[in-house]
Symmetry: C2
Subunit: 65 residues, 2 copies
């Protein structure tokens, strides 16, 4: 599961901590997501999509298998 969180976050001029607070998760969660250490819950994906004003599919790129 790839994602554009870092680029989007920078486009919106947010620090990792800003973003974490905006969507109500820890900074660690943002770091781990940007480093693609795990894929998020769908709830977190929806929160990011809402904040970045786009579709989940524009943030996360699903790779089969």
């Amino acid at each position: 599961m790839k994602n554009n969180i870092k680029q989007l976050r920078e486009q919106f001029d947010l620090t990792q901590e800003d973003l974490a607070k905006e969507i109500g998760v820890s900074r660690q969660t943002i770091i781990s997501l940007e480093k693609e250490r795990y894929s998020p819950s769908i709830i977190l994906a929806f929160k990011l999509a809402k904040l970045f004003n786009c579709q989940i599919e524009n943030i996360f790129i699903y790779e089969e298998n």
Copy 2:
């Protein structure tokens, strides 16, 4: 988190077990999702979207708070 899984599954003429096998989860997972007992991982959401040939946002309806 609401969803249309049951309706979509029936449109595609699949049993819960069929659907479970198609996307590689247990039947219990399908039951729990249809009963909206929990919200899925984004990976599961992507698998469903692919199978049903639509966007995640067309299957799952995010309600804030």
